[in-house]
Protein backbone atom coordinates (compact mmCIF):
# COMPACT_ATOMS: atom_id res chain seq x y z
CA UNK A 1 0.00 0.00 0.00
CA UNK A 2 1.31 3.40 -0.90
CA UNK A 3 0.32 6.78 0.38
CA UNK A 4 -0.12 9.34 -2.38
CA UNK A 5 0.95 12.75 -1.20
CA UNK A 6 0.28 14.01 -4.71
CA UNK A 7 -3.42 13.49 -4.20
CA UNK A 8 -3.38 15.65 -1.08
CA UNK A 9 -1.37 18.37 -2.80
CA UNK A 10 -3.74 18.29 -5.75
CA UNK A 11 -6.76 18.80 -3.55
CA UNK A 12 -5.12 21.18 -1.09
CA UNK A 13 -7.33 24.16 -2.09
CA UNK A 14 -10.43 22.00 -1.61
CA UNK A 15 -9.24 20.85 1.82
CA UNK A 16 -8.57 24.46 2.70
CA UNK A 17 -12.12 25.45 1.74
CA UNK A 18 -13.54 22.59 3.80
CA UNK A 19 -11.39 23.54 6.76
CA UNK A 20 -12.63 27.13 6.60
CA UNK A 21 -16.24 25.92 6.62
CA UNK A 22 -15.47 23.70 9.62
CA UNK A 23 -13.86 26.58 11.47
CA UNK A 24 -16.75 28.90 10.62
CA UNK A 25 -19.33 26.32 11.78
CA UNK A 26 -17.39 25.75 15.03
CA UNK A 27 -16.95 29.42 15.82
CA UNK A 28 -20.53 30.43 15.02
CA UNK A 29 -21.94 27.30 16.67
CA UNK A 30 -19.85 27.91 19.79
CA UNK A 31 -20.85 31.56 20.12
CA UNK A 32 -24.46 30.50 19.62
CA UNK A 33 -24.13 27.84 22.34
CA UNK A 34 -22.76 30.48 24.75
CA UNK A 35 -25.86 32.59 24.13
CA UNK A 36 -28.28 29.64 24.18
CA UNK A 37 -26.72 28.44 27.45
CA UNK A 38 -27.24 31.84 29.05
CA UNK A 39 -30.81 32.17 27.83
CA UNK A 40 -31.66 28.61 28.91
CA UNK A 41 -30.23 29.09 32.39
CA UNK A 42 -32.08 32.39 32.82
CA UNK A 43 -35.35 30.77 31.73
CA UNK A 44 -34.80 27.72 33.95
CA UNK A 45 -34.22 30.01 36.91
CA UNK A 46 -37.35 32.08 36.27
CA UNK A 47 -39.67 32.18 39.27
CA UNK A 48 -42.67 31.17 37.13
CA UNK A 49 -42.91 27.45 36.38
CA UNK A 50 -44.70 28.43 33.19
CA UNK A 51 -41.33 29.70 31.96
CA UNK A 52 -38.91 27.38 33.75
CA UNK A 53 -40.64 24.08 33.00
CA UNK A 54 -40.53 24.35 29.17
CA UNK A 55 -36.87 25.38 29.43
CA UNK A 56 -36.06 22.35 31.60
CA UNK A 57 -37.97 20.03 29.25
CA UNK A 58 -36.21 21.51 26.24
CA UNK A 59 -32.84 20.99 27.87
CA UNK A 60 -33.63 17.39 28.82
CA UNK A 61 -34.90 16.68 25.31
CA UNK A 62 -31.85 18.13 23.62
CA UNK A 63 -29.47 16.29 25.90
CA UNK A 64 -31.26 12.97 25.51
CA UNK A 65 -31.43 12.80 21.72
CA UNK A 66 -28.54 12.43 19.24
CA UNK A 67 -27.17 15.50 17.51
CA UNK A 68 -27.64 13.81 14.13
CA UNK A 69 -31.35 13.38 14.80
CA UNK A 70 -31.63 17.02 15.76
CA UNK A 71 -29.80 18.12 12.63
CA UNK A 72 -32.10 15.99 10.47
CA UNK A 73 -35.12 17.29 12.29
CA UNK A 74 -34.20 20.91 11.64
CA UNK A 75 -33.22 20.22 8.03
CA UNK A 76 -35.94 17.83 6.86
CA UNK A 77 -38.90 18.33 9.19
CA UNK A 78 -39.01 22.06 9.73
CA UNK A 79 -39.46 22.88 6.00
CA UNK A 80 -42.76 20.96 6.22
CA UNK A 81 -44.06 23.63 8.56
CA UNK A 82 -42.71 26.40 6.37
CA UNK A 83 -39.36 27.04 8.08
CA UNK A 84 -36.66 26.67 5.46
CA UNK A 85 -33.04 27.57 6.12
CA UNK A 86 -29.77 27.07 4.22
CA UNK A 87 -27.84 23.95 5.25
CA UNK A 88 -25.00 25.83 6.94
CA UNK A 89 -27.37 27.94 9.03
CA UNK A 90 -29.38 24.84 9.99
CA UNK A 91 -26.26 22.99 11.04
CA UNK A 92 -24.91 25.85 13.06
CA UNK A 93 -28.22 26.32 14.86
CA UNK A 94 -28.32 22.61 15.67
CA UNK A 95 -24.78 22.77 17.09
CA UNK A 96 -25.66 25.90 19.10
CA UNK A 97 -28.85 24.43 20.55
CA UNK A 98 -27.34 21.02 21.29
CA UNK A 99 -24.23 22.30 23.02
CA UNK A 100 -26.08 25.26 24.53
CA UNK A 101 -27.99 22.75 26.65
CA UNK A 102 -24.69 21.57 28.10
CA UNK A 103 -23.30 25.08 28.37
CA UNK A 104 -26.24 26.08 30.57
CA UNK A 105 -25.13 23.36 33.01
CA UNK A 106 -21.58 24.69 32.90
CA UNK A 107 -22.87 28.18 33.68
CA UNK A 108 -25.02 26.90 36.54
CA UNK A 109 -22.14 25.00 38.11
CA UNK A 110 -19.80 27.99 37.75
CA UNK A 111 -22.30 30.38 39.35
CA UNK A 112 -22.86 27.97 42.23
CA UNK A 113 -19.11 27.69 42.74
CA UNK A 114 -18.93 31.40 43.62
CA UNK A 115 -19.05 31.42 47.44
CA UNK A 116 -22.28 32.51 49.10
CA UNK A 117 -20.32 35.16 51.03
CA UNK A 118 -19.75 37.06 47.79
CA UNK A 119 -23.49 37.64 47.54
CA UNK A 120 -23.56 38.71 51.20
CA UNK A 121 -20.82 41.24 50.46
CA UNK A 122 -22.71 42.46 47.38
CA UNK A 123 -25.89 43.03 49.38
CA UNK A 124 -23.97 44.71 52.20
CA UNK A 125 -22.54 47.15 49.65
CA UNK A 126 -26.04 47.78 48.27
CA UNK A 127 -25.47 46.25 44.84
CA UNK A 128 -28.68 45.43 43.00
CA UNK A 129 -29.01 41.97 41.45
CA UNK A 130 -27.99 42.96 37.93
CA UNK A 131 -24.97 44.99 39.06
CA UNK A 132 -23.89 42.25 41.46
CA UNK A 133 -23.96 39.71 38.65
CA UNK A 134 -22.16 41.96 36.18
CA UNK A 135 -19.40 43.39 38.37
CA UNK A 136 -18.93 40.80 41.11
CA UNK A 137 -20.31 37.35 40.34
CA UNK A 138 -19.78 36.82 36.60
CA UNK A 139 -16.12 37.89 36.64
CA UNK A 140 -15.58 35.16 39.25
CA UNK A 141 -17.73 32.55 37.52
CA UNK A 142 -16.14 33.05 34.09
CA UNK A 143 -12.71 31.58 34.94
CA UNK A 144 -14.44 28.69 36.70
CA UNK A 145 -16.49 27.96 33.57
CA UNK A 146 -13.54 28.34 31.22
CA UNK A 147 -12.10 24.77 31.24
CA UNK A 148 -15.54 23.21 30.72
CA UNK A 149 -16.30 25.68 27.91
CA UNK A 150 -12.98 24.69 26.37
CA UNK A 151 -14.14 21.07 26.35
CA UNK A 152 -17.36 22.17 24.68
CA UNK A 153 -15.38 23.97 22.00
CA UNK A 154 -13.26 20.89 21.27
CA UNK A 155 -16.31 18.60 21.27
CA UNK A 156 -17.95 20.98 18.86
CA UNK A 157 -15.00 20.81 16.44
CA UNK A 158 -15.34 17.03 16.48
CA UNK A 159 -19.13 17.22 16.00
CA UNK A 160 -19.00 19.33 12.84
CA UNK A 161 -18.68 16.28 10.50
CA UNK A 162 -22.32 15.57 11.33
CA UNK A 163 -23.16 18.62 9.23
CA UNK A 164 -21.93 16.73 6.16
CA UNK A 165 -25.11 14.68 6.48
CA UNK A 166 -27.10 17.74 5.42
CA UNK A 167 -24.73 18.70 2.57
CA UNK A 168 -22.66 21.30 4.38
CA UNK A 169 -19.34 21.21 2.53
CA UNK A 170 -17.15 21.10 5.60
CA UNK A 171 -13.89 19.18 5.94
CA UNK A 172 -15.37 15.67 6.29
CA UNK A 173 -17.75 16.22 3.38
CA UNK A 174 -14.83 17.33 1.23
CA UNK A 175 -12.64 14.38 2.26
CA UNK A 176 -15.43 11.93 1.55
CA UNK A 177 -16.12 13.59 -1.79
CA UNK A 178 -12.50 13.26 -2.87
CA UNK A 179 -12.62 9.62 -1.82
CA UNK A 180 -15.62 8.87 -4.00
CA UNK A 181 -14.18 10.74 -6.97
CA UNK A 182 -10.89 8.84 -6.93
CA UNK A 183 -11.86 5.61 -5.18
CA UNK A 184 -9.07 6.46 -2.76
CA UNK A 185 -10.10 7.05 0.85
CA UNK A 186 -6.89 6.52 2.80
CA UNK A 187 -5.27 9.83 1.89
CA UNK A 188 -8.21 12.24 2.21
CA UNK A 189 -9.52 10.69 5.44
CA UNK A 190 -6.08 10.57 7.02
CA UNK A 191 -5.40 14.16 6.06
CA UNK A 192 -8.78 15.26 7.39
CA UNK A 193 -8.03 13.51 10.69
CA UNK A 194 -4.72 15.36 10.93
CA UNK A 195 -6.45 18.69 10.33
CA UNK A 196 -9.05 17.90 13.05
CA UNK A 197 -6.22 16.98 15.39
CA UNK A 198 -4.40 20.25 14.72
CA UNK A 199 -7.60 22.26 15.27
CA UNK A 200 -8.39 20.46 18.54
CA UNK A 201 -4.85 20.91 19.84
CA UNK A 202 -4.90 24.59 18.89
CA UNK A 203 -8.21 25.06 20.73
CA UNK A 204 -6.85 23.26 23.79
CA UNK A 205 -3.75 25.45 23.75
CA UNK A 206 -5.90 28.57 23.55
CA UNK A 207 -7.97 27.47 26.54
CA UNK A 208 -4.87 26.65 28.57
CA UNK A 209 -3.42 30.04 27.71
CA UNK A 210 -6.59 31.89 28.77
CA UNK A 211 -6.83 29.83 31.95
CA UNK A 212 -3.26 30.65 32.87
CA UNK A 213 -3.60 34.35 32.16
CA UNK A 214 -6.69 34.48 34.42
CA UNK A 215 -4.68 32.89 37.22
CA UNK A 216 -1.69 35.16 36.83
CA UNK A 217 -3.90 38.26 36.75
CA UNK A 218 -5.24 37.44 40.20
CA UNK A 219 -2.17 36.88 42.22
Amino acid sequence: MSFSFDLIVEFLPVFWQGTLVTIAATVVGFLLSLIVGGVLLTLMRAPSRLVSLPAVLFMEFVRSTPLLVQVYFLFFVLPNVGIKMPAFLTGVIALGLHHGAYVSETYRAALEAVPRGQWDAAVSLNYGRAKAYWYLILPQAAPIALPALGNTLITMIKDTPILSAITVTELMFVANDIGTQRFQYTEPITFAAIIYLVMSLAAAALVTYLDRSFRIARS
Partner: protein, 256 residues
Protein backbone atom coordinates in the same frame (compact mmCIF):
# COMPACT_ATOMS: atom_id res chain seq x y z
CA UNK B 1 -33.86 60.70 70.55
CA UNK B 2 -34.79 57.85 68.25
CA UNK B 3 -32.40 54.90 68.72
CA UNK B 4 -30.26 53.91 65.74
CA UNK B 5 -31.58 50.38 65.93
CA UNK B 6 -34.59 48.88 67.60
CA UNK B 7 -35.84 45.28 67.61
CA UNK B 8 -39.41 44.95 68.82
CA UNK B 9 -40.62 41.47 69.73
CA UNK B 10 -38.71 39.95 66.83
CA UNK B 11 -38.81 36.22 66.23
CA UNK B 12 -36.77 34.33 63.69
CA UNK B 13 -36.74 30.61 63.03
CA UNK B 14 -34.70 28.37 60.76
CA UNK B 15 -36.98 25.39 60.38
CA UNK B 16 -37.67 24.14 63.88
CA UNK B 17 -34.76 26.08 65.42
CA UNK B 18 -35.73 29.31 67.12
CA UNK B 19 -32.93 31.79 66.50
CA UNK B 20 -34.50 34.94 67.89
CA UNK B 21 -37.25 34.53 70.44
CA UNK B 22 -39.54 37.51 71.06
CA UNK B 23 -36.41 39.60 71.01
CA UNK B 24 -36.30 43.23 72.21
CA UNK B 25 -33.15 45.24 71.72
CA UNK B 26 -32.10 48.82 71.06
CA UNK B 27 -28.85 50.59 70.23
CA UNK B 28 -28.51 54.37 70.51
CA UNK B 29 -26.90 56.48 67.82
CA UNK B 30 -23.13 56.37 68.18
CA UNK B 31 -23.21 53.58 70.72
CA UNK B 32 -20.64 50.76 70.53
CA UNK B 33 -22.18 47.44 71.52
CA UNK B 34 -20.46 44.07 71.79
CA UNK B 35 -22.56 40.92 71.69
CA UNK B 36 -21.24 37.72 73.20
CA UNK B 37 -22.82 34.32 73.36
CA UNK B 38 -22.40 30.66 72.47
CA UNK B 39 -22.75 29.70 68.82
CA UNK B 40 -26.32 29.37 67.70
CA UNK B 41 -27.47 32.01 70.16
CA UNK B 42 -28.73 34.28 67.37
CA UNK B 43 -26.03 36.95 67.47
CA UNK B 44 -24.98 36.66 63.83
CA UNK B 45 -28.57 36.40 62.69
CA UNK B 46 -29.28 39.67 64.46
CA UNK B 47 -26.62 41.35 62.30
CA UNK B 48 -27.77 39.61 59.13
CA UNK B 49 -31.32 40.86 59.72
CA UNK B 50 -30.01 44.41 60.04
CA UNK B 51 -28.01 43.99 56.83
CA UNK B 52 -31.21 42.67 55.15
CA UNK B 53 -29.47 39.36 54.47
CA UNK B 54 -32.22 37.60 56.43
CA UNK B 55 -35.86 38.48 56.96
CA UNK B 56 -37.83 37.93 60.15
CA UNK B 57 -40.82 35.80 61.10
CA UNK B 58 -42.50 38.13 63.54
CA UNK B 59 -42.09 41.59 65.01
CA UNK B 60 -40.60 44.88 63.82
CA UNK B 61 -37.07 46.14 63.23
CA UNK B 62 -36.44 49.88 63.04
CA UNK B 63 -33.42 51.64 61.63
CA UNK B 64 -33.21 55.29 62.74
CA UNK B 65 -36.95 55.23 63.27
CA UNK B 66 -37.77 53.81 59.81
CA UNK B 67 -39.24 50.34 59.54
CA UNK B 68 -36.67 47.98 58.08
CA UNK B 69 -38.69 44.81 58.65
CA UNK B 70 -42.21 44.32 59.86
CA UNK B 71 -44.14 41.12 59.99
CA UNK B 72 -47.08 39.57 61.63
CA UNK B 73 -47.23 35.78 61.27
CA UNK B 74 -48.75 34.61 58.01
CA UNK B 75 -47.89 37.77 56.13
CA UNK B 76 -44.97 38.50 53.85
CA UNK B 77 -41.91 39.87 55.57
CA UNK B 78 -41.16 42.76 53.25
CA UNK B 79 -43.11 45.66 54.61
CA UNK B 80 -40.74 47.99 52.80
CA UNK B 81 -40.42 48.51 49.06
CA UNK B 82 -37.15 47.44 47.47
CA UNK B 83 -36.25 51.08 46.85
CA UNK B 84 -36.84 51.94 50.50
CA UNK B 85 -34.88 48.84 51.49
CA UNK B 86 -31.94 50.03 49.36
CA UNK B 87 -32.14 53.49 50.94
CA UNK B 88 -32.10 52.05 54.46
CA UNK B 89 -29.43 49.50 53.59
CA UNK B 90 -27.12 52.31 52.50
CA UNK B 91 -26.91 53.42 56.12
CA UNK B 92 -25.52 50.08 57.21
CA UNK B 93 -22.13 48.50 56.52
CA UNK B 94 -20.95 45.03 57.44
CA UNK B 95 -17.67 43.23 58.04
CA UNK B 96 -17.73 39.45 57.78
CA UNK B 97 -15.87 36.70 59.57
CA UNK B 98 -14.49 35.36 56.28
CA UNK B 99 -13.77 38.88 54.92
CA UNK B 100 -15.64 38.15 51.66
CA UNK B 101 -13.34 40.34 49.61
CA UNK B 102 -13.77 40.20 45.85
CA UNK B 103 -10.89 37.94 44.74
CA UNK B 104 -10.77 39.32 41.21
CA UNK B 105 -10.06 42.87 42.38
CA UNK B 106 -7.03 44.48 44.00
CA UNK B 107 -7.36 46.02 47.46
CA UNK B 108 -7.89 49.42 45.85
CA UNK B 109 -10.52 48.06 43.45
CA UNK B 110 -12.31 46.26 46.29
CA UNK B 111 -12.75 49.54 48.16
CA UNK B 112 -13.45 51.66 45.07
CA UNK B 113 -15.99 49.22 43.61
CA UNK B 114 -19.15 50.19 45.47
CA UNK B 115 -18.56 53.98 45.29
CA UNK B 116 -18.06 53.50 41.56
CA UNK B 117 -20.81 51.00 40.76
CA UNK B 118 -23.42 51.83 43.39
CA UNK B 119 -22.94 55.56 44.07
CA UNK B 120 -21.86 56.37 40.52
CA UNK B 121 -18.62 58.16 41.47
CA UNK B 122 -16.10 58.72 38.69
CA UNK B 123 -13.22 56.23 38.53
CA UNK B 124 -10.82 58.92 39.70
CA UNK B 125 -12.92 60.00 42.68
CA UNK B 126 -13.59 56.40 43.72
CA UNK B 127 -9.89 55.54 43.61
CA UNK B 128 -8.95 58.65 45.55
CA UNK B 129 -11.49 57.78 48.24
CA UNK B 130 -10.33 54.15 48.30
CA UNK B 131 -6.67 55.16 48.54
CA UNK B 132 -7.39 57.47 51.47
CA UNK B 133 -9.37 54.79 53.30
CA UNK B 134 -6.73 52.12 52.77
CA UNK B 135 -4.16 54.59 54.04
CA UNK B 136 -6.22 54.99 57.19
CA UNK B 137 -6.25 51.25 57.85
CA UNK B 138 -2.49 51.13 57.31
CA UNK B 139 -2.49 49.53 53.86
CA UNK B 140 -1.35 52.49 51.78
CA UNK B 141 1.49 50.33 50.47
CA UNK B 142 -0.67 47.36 49.43
CA UNK B 143 -3.16 49.15 47.16
CA UNK B 144 -2.50 46.94 44.15
CA UNK B 145 -2.31 43.59 45.91
CA UNK B 146 -4.95 40.96 45.25
CA UNK B 147 -6.65 39.45 48.33
CA UNK B 148 -4.85 36.13 47.73
CA UNK B 149 -1.58 37.95 48.40
CA UNK B 150 -2.73 39.57 51.66
CA UNK B 151 -2.68 38.11 55.17
CA UNK B 152 -5.99 37.57 56.97
CA UNK B 153 -5.43 40.68 59.04
CA UNK B 154 -4.73 42.74 55.95
CA UNK B 155 -7.76 41.31 54.18
CA UNK B 156 -10.01 42.19 57.08
CA UNK B 157 -8.65 45.74 57.13
CA UNK B 158 -9.41 46.06 53.42
CA UNK B 159 -12.92 44.77 54.19
CA UNK B 160 -13.37 47.45 56.86
CA UNK B 161 -12.20 50.14 54.43
CA UNK B 162 -14.55 48.73 51.80
CA UNK B 163 -17.54 48.96 54.14
CA UNK B 164 -16.55 52.47 55.25
CA UNK B 165 -16.37 53.68 51.64
CA UNK B 166 -20.15 53.95 51.53
CA UNK B 167 -20.14 56.16 54.64
CA UNK B 168 -22.48 54.03 56.74
CA UNK B 169 -23.96 55.27 59.99
CA UNK B 170 -24.11 51.79 61.46
CA UNK B 171 -21.29 49.26 61.18
CA UNK B 172 -21.86 45.59 61.89
CA UNK B 173 -18.92 43.31 62.68
CA UNK B 174 -19.68 39.60 62.49
CA UNK B 175 -16.86 37.88 64.40
CA UNK B 176 -14.31 40.07 62.63
CA UNK B 177 -11.27 38.49 64.27
CA UNK B 178 -12.41 34.87 64.64
CA UNK B 179 -10.86 33.65 61.37
CA UNK B 180 -7.51 35.28 62.12
CA UNK B 181 -4.32 33.82 63.51
CA UNK B 182 -3.90 35.17 67.05
CA UNK B 183 -0.95 37.38 66.12
CA UNK B 184 -3.03 39.13 63.44
CA UNK B 185 -5.94 40.06 65.74
CA UNK B 186 -4.14 43.14 67.03
CA UNK B 187 -3.87 45.00 63.73
CA UNK B 188 -7.59 44.58 63.02
CA UNK B 189 -8.50 45.50 66.57
CA UNK B 190 -6.45 48.71 66.28
CA UNK B 191 -8.48 49.76 63.24
CA UNK B 192 -11.74 48.94 65.02
CA UNK B 193 -10.63 50.86 68.09
CA UNK B 194 -9.86 53.88 65.96
CA UNK B 195 -13.34 53.70 64.47
CA UNK B 196 -14.87 53.28 67.92
CA UNK B 197 -13.00 56.14 69.58
CA UNK B 198 -12.69 58.64 66.74
CA UNK B 199 -16.05 58.43 64.95
CA UNK B 200 -19.70 58.75 65.91
CA UNK B 201 -20.41 55.50 64.06
CA UNK B 202 -22.90 53.17 65.69
CA UNK B 203 -21.13 49.83 66.03
CA UNK B 204 -22.35 46.34 66.83
CA UNK B 205 -19.62 43.76 67.22
CA UNK B 206 -20.42 40.08 67.53
CA UNK B 207 -17.39 38.30 68.93
CA UNK B 208 -16.06 35.39 70.92
CA UNK B 209 -13.02 37.33 71.99
CA UNK B 210 -13.46 39.12 75.29
CA UNK B 211 -10.49 41.39 74.56
CA UNK B 212 -12.25 42.72 71.48
CA UNK B 213 -15.41 43.43 73.43
CA UNK B 214 -13.50 45.13 76.22
CA UNK B 215 -11.48 47.32 73.84
CA UNK B 216 -14.42 48.65 71.88
CA UNK B 217 -17.73 48.41 73.65
CA UNK B 218 -19.68 50.93 75.73
CA UNK B 219 -22.07 48.10 76.46
CA UNK B 220 -21.66 44.35 76.44
CA UNK B 221 -24.60 42.01 75.87
CA UNK B 222 -24.80 38.29 76.43
CA UNK B 223 -27.20 36.32 74.26
CA UNK B 224 -28.35 32.75 74.59
CA UNK B 225 -31.03 30.81 72.73
CA UNK B 226 -32.33 33.88 70.93
CA UNK B 227 -32.72 35.99 74.04
CA UNK B 228 -30.75 38.71 75.77
CA UNK B 229 -29.59 37.21 79.06
CA UNK B 230 -27.55 40.04 80.50
CA UNK B 231 -26.10 43.40 79.55
CA UNK B 232 -23.99 46.07 81.17
CA UNK B 233 -20.98 48.33 80.79
CA UNK B 234 -17.80 46.35 80.14
CA UNK B 235 -16.35 46.67 83.64
CA UNK B 236 -19.48 45.53 85.44
CA UNK B 237 -20.17 42.85 82.86
CA UNK B 238 -16.74 41.23 82.96
CA UNK B 239 -15.89 41.81 86.63
CA UNK B 240 -19.26 41.30 88.27
CA UNK B 241 -21.57 39.36 85.98
CA UNK B 242 -24.99 38.71 87.49
CA UNK B 243 -26.44 35.65 85.83
CA UNK B 244 -25.00 32.19 86.32
CA UNK B 245 -25.11 31.55 82.58
CA UNK B 246 -22.96 34.60 81.90
CA UNK B 247 -20.50 33.54 84.57
CA UNK B 248 -20.25 30.04 83.11
CA UNK B 249 -19.80 31.42 79.60
CA UNK B 250 -17.10 33.86 80.63
CA UNK B 251 -15.26 31.07 82.46
CA UNK B 252 -15.40 28.75 79.45
CA UNK B 253 -14.22 31.45 77.03
CA UNK B 254 -11.35 32.50 79.29
CA UNK B 255 -10.18 28.90 79.49
CA UNK B 256 -10.28 28.49 75.75
Amino acid sequence: MEPAIRFERVSKRFGATIVLDDFDFAVSCGEKVAILGPSGSGKSTLLRILMTLEDIDDGTVYLEGDRLWQRTPGQSATATSSRELARLRSKVGMVFQQFNLFPHMTALENVAAAPRHVLGHSAGAAKKLAGDLLDKVGLGDRLHSYPARLSGGQQQRVAIARAMALRPKVMLFDEPTSALDPELVGEVLEVMKALAHETDLTMIVVTHQLGVARAIADRVCFMERGRLVEEGDPNTFFDAPKSDRTKAFLRSVKLA
